[in-house]
Symmetry: C2
């Protein structure tokens, strides 16, 4: 770890922030009013409402069988990766160089019948069998499109009013409808790498448990943002379903699940966090050790307010039938006011220090 | 003006802020709801409510005669300066050095019977006589204690319900009573130098007009904050009223109004803005020219929301009877959330650039 100079403004910023703000998330027993919510927006501070969505149809009725009945063989977009890390910094070994480099790996995406996807999710993976297998892990699939998918491929669930189309207190406080309502379906192997979004986010757990690690915008200098070359996982020999190979373990081979990481040509570098708060010694910056992550686990029926521009890493633990389901509501953040330009400033100063 | 480096983070910050935020104040026709107000607090953005206090007893009834009847000869604290600049960067010439230096000059403070103070305010000054005088200006007096004075020396006005003890939408939104309610009485010669406060401020004009120049916290690098030695105006020969010299023009002489600027011994340096947006070429920093001040004039009955940590310079124009009156409500700002530590960070980085 490099020594920090005395009165280093970035170190002071992170320390000051933590002195003034708890790293233990605020827990509410019931949903806030619009005004109460707006106070959290003003403070850019997360909270969790325990059981806030316990009376939603979704949290009561969404089982694998229910969803299969509802969506049947409709094609849904699925992100496929060898180990569950979509949109994540990943080591890439070039055929021409022995030294691996960190790239930003996007998942292979393909359309699959929803029923096949659910069958994959609920089939035990080799690594969970007894005795453990030493063969490469099969691929990991995650329905994680964040393109307002509950108004598109999963519209029947919204139309059936299993979930509300907006969160009343957020809609009233922010004076707008959500820009996107997204469904997330996966298993315990999918992890969403540390990143941030320019949205006010209300995240509702429907089935399974979700583990969030949260960092405020003031801690930007600790996340080790680097410009990474883009890469994408590609399935050798084409998409699984189109090839009729629906067994879910891919083609096997060194890449895991028949997937190969291919560098994107001519693309711009992707600025992305490389520090993982769960492996704090790796890719650490001189400021990472000052960061005090906020951790929260959502149980089914819990709602999380994830303020705009907060970094978050998300992993999940699934029930015996293997499915984790969540819904989130993205509301456009307000780019006026000081938060956005000041956060950009923190990033600029932090990047100049490199 | 020094040249800025390309991609200078501070210059980017000020430019980004202004690209995303108008420098024309938002005008409301009626008071906001608590939720609407909280949206402005979240954006740290000023607004003015035209005529928002037009039905207050104060804006209808507060004349010089009314106030004299109410407060009579009660002693009130008055700030006295030669030219109207209390708590302001001021050039000081030492007896031992010909080079003037900028110091932070605090006013002479003395208790005066309220009726005498009003007589002073409503007596035309020599500079407004015709033909103009060339003698030194008499002193300027301003009742400007910001110590919750409406709960102390001016309590009768509050008890009479001429003004409310809190602003309902601010009290509900911020979930607290004001930390201080202050009365300001002066004439057109008083100017409050550019500074900022750690309060959410609701400022209500009762009589006369007030001219605000406002700068957001993101523009900190433009205000030329410097550590100034403290100084205080001292009346030669003691306080006016105690000496029985109530004619208001002081003792005359070079300092103006018998006041002499005396350096404070052993005090800490006072960090204070030295740039004046109305004299933009003087004391400018390399960033001052990027700052786009927001200007607003309050008419009697207007209310201004002045967000916490905004720099403000205030001057005033008075009606023929010579009195400007305003009331302001200071609500404790929220030090949690990103604004306070990020603003401190801007200041630290700006000061390191010097």
């Amino acid at each position: 770890m490099e020594d920090l100079e005395p009165n280093d403004p970035i170190a002071e910023l992170i320390t000051n922030y933590h002195e003034l703000n708890s790293s233990i998330i605020e827990e509410l027993d019931e949903e806030p009013s619009a005004l109460e919510f707006m106070r959290y927006v003003a403070r850019n501070t997360p909270f969790v409402v325990r059981g806030g969505a316990a009376d939603w149809q979704a949290t009561r009725t969404w089982t694998v069988d229910y969803l299969k009945d509802f969506l049947g063989d409709e094609l849904v977009n699925v992100a496929v990766t060898p180990t569950g890390n979509a949109d994540a910094p990943t080591l890439y070994t070039s055929p021409t160089s022995p030294t691996p480099t960190l790239v930003f790996a996007k998942p292979h995406e393909e359309d699959q019948p929803f029923s096949s996807f659910l069958t994959y999710l609920t089939t035990p993976t080799p690594t969970t069998t007894n005795p453990p297998t030493t063969t490469p892990s099969p691929e990991v699939r995650y329905a994680q499109t964040q393109n307002n998918n509950l108004h598109h491929e999963y519209l029947p669930l919204l139309s059936h009013r299993d979930i509300p189309s907006s969160i009343p207190w957020a809609r009233v406080a922010l004076a707008r409808d959500p820009d996107a309502v997204n469904l997330w379906i996966g298993n315990g192997r999918s992890v969403t790498a540390l990143h941030r979004d320019n949205y006010e986010n209300v995240y509702v757990q429907v089935a399974g448990r979700k583990h969030f690690v949260l960092l405020p915008p003031a801690c930007q200098a600790g996340v080790g943002e680097r410009g990474l070359r883009g890469a994408v996982w590609v399935r050798r020999g084409g998409d699984l379903e189109k090839e009729g190979d629906g067994d879910g373990d891919g083609e096997g081979g060194g890449g895991g699940g028949g997937l190969e990481l291919v560098l994107e040509e001519g693309g711009e570098m992707v600025p992305f966090a490389t520090w993982d708060p769960d492996r704090p010694e790796e890719n650490a910056t001189p400021y990472s050790h000052l960061v005090q992550p906020m951790r929260v686990t959502l149980e089914p029926g819990d709602m999380l307010y994830l303020p705009c521009m907060w970094y978050h890493k998300v992993s999940q633990s699934c029930p015996p039938d293997g499915v984790c389901i969540a819904v989130n509501y993205w509301y456009d953040m307000d780019f006026t006011g000081p938060l956005y330009p000041l956060s950009t400033f923190v990033r600029s100063v932090s990047n100049q220090k490199k």
